[in-house]
Subunit: 81 residues, 2 copies
Amino acid sequence: MKAKVYVTLKPSVLDPQGKAIHHSVELLGFGQVTDIRQGKYFEIALDAELSEADARKSAEKIAKDVLANPVIEDYKVEMVK
Amino acid sequence: MKAKVYVTLKPSVLDPQGKAIHHSVELLGFGQVTDIRQGKYFEIALDAELSEADARKSAEKIAKDVLANPVIEDYKVEMVK
């Protein structure tokens, strides 16, 4: 079983990396872009013998404790068969 | 209109950062994890007056030319209303 974890900065947190990418993209001639924000993406492969509920619980715990900083970041976990 | 871009290393490319995260996660007691791979995630906000087809074209071009290195990375673009 696989879990996909998306980690993004909270909307109220400044994203200088995203701003830099936005600026570069504008210089390259993409004028239609109004904003870019960068996040992180993880694919976690879990033991195939785990039930979906247990796998989701593990993935949520890993996302919360290790992959994201809950003070400034939001995360989303998606399970894939 | 918003585009979500996921950039991942191709499966044949080694992911030392993912391996390091996997190792840390194991040390923290998550034994059910068999692999972790790290990727990048971007949210691109595009001019609301663009048609969906044009917005997708721009987002695909930005993903291919700027956000991903097609030699070692795959990318996926998803449009959101």
